[in-house]
Symmetry: C2
Subunit: 209 residues, 2 copies
């Protein structure tokens, strides 16, 4: 991919393409037209052609898309052609749920350690990963070149944790707290603001009634 | 709010306005200009004026916005002026994490029951809510007029659960599985596709390097 001007909207659709292409590969389907892809993925065929034109060379008139080539190219764009070292901060239910997702590891996100402030959780092993004292977080991130931190703490400690992470060279933060974190030194962030998503859902429910 | 043509983009920003207005109220701030709001929320002042103009009458030249009135109006638009009966399907780590979020209940989302297929979880009480046999799900949803179901099952049972929910009159599904559910009878859905969000994060990480 040469063109850096791919819009955010397209980027945010890529993971969904990736998922459906993977399912096609599981079913041994090697090529697919934009029309057929439209039926299963729910975007319009013209939207699909427009989106995938950004990467060039995968669709051929009368042939359709090469499923595996497109899957691999989208994976590369998303940065799935390498491994990421990850840590989880907050070893409560949510942190444990994330530690148990085998899917993350399958795509190269390798969980190295978990951290918590609660002494009763320290030393616990979840999916073979140890829960450590959060006081060790900064050193651990720096010494082990951790790429991504999943922040599952409570609201009140989230920014403090983010500061420690940034000071020690974290590259990306996956934020599950209902706080907009201020990150320094150019770390990137994605938020899962659960309550905001739930609010949107009740808006739709109300509109639908 | 009379105008039904508020764009999806605006709707999706409303929960964030709601959160920041709540914080202002906690700090006893009664009015705020679009400029000041811009500084804390991160949207441009003109974006804010445009967004909030959709609801009319809250901003006054030289005065700014009435924080509490705006907070209440946005809450009403989001459907937060009523209660919702909710259930959780899948009482694993993620389901338990959601059951323990006291914030949901505070905003009117009242958890009535949890369901699981695992006999070892049945009868367990999480945050004072009982885990029931998933075989009872359909009857329970119908008889108790459940509004919203949080689906935290594994991928392979998600659609089957969705079918049961729809058949029994569910109004909204909050889907945490990596599946695009097909819902009948006009139920609405919001998805938390974790892995897709993580892919987007690694895209940004890569672009930022």
């Amino acid at each position: 991919m040469k063109d850096n001007k791919i819009s955010m909207a397209v980027i945010r659709r890529l993971p969904k393409y990736h998922r459906y292409l993977s399912q096609l590969m599981d079913r041994d389907i090697n090529r697919i037209s934009s029309k057929e892809l439209s039926k299963i993925i729910g975007f319009s065929a013209s939207q699909i052609r427009q989106d995938l034109n950004n990467f060039g060379g995968f669709g051929q008139q009368g042939y359709g898309y090469n499923v595996e080539a497109l899957y691999r190219e989208i994976g590369k764009i998303l940065g799935l052609d390498r491994e990421y070292k990850t840590v989880i901060i907050g070893a409560g239910n949510l942190g444990q749920a994330l530690a148990n997702y085998t899917n993350f590891s399958r795509f190269g996100y390798k969980l190295q350690a978990m951290f918590d402030v609660n002494p009763r959780l320290m030393g616990l092993r979840i999916n073979d990963v140890e829960v450590k004292d959060v006081d060790l977080l900064g050193d651990y991130v720096r010494e082990n070149n951790i790429d991504i931190a999943y922040v599952c703490t409570n609201r009140s400690s989230a920014q403090q944790i983010a500061d420690i992470l940034c000071k020690n060279g974290i590259k990306a933060v996956w934020n599950f707290t209902p706080v907009d974190l201020v990150l320094k030194k150019g770390a990137v962030v994605e938020n899962i603001h659960l309550i905001e998503n739930l609010f949107t859902l009740s808006y739709f429910l109300k509109e639908n009634e």
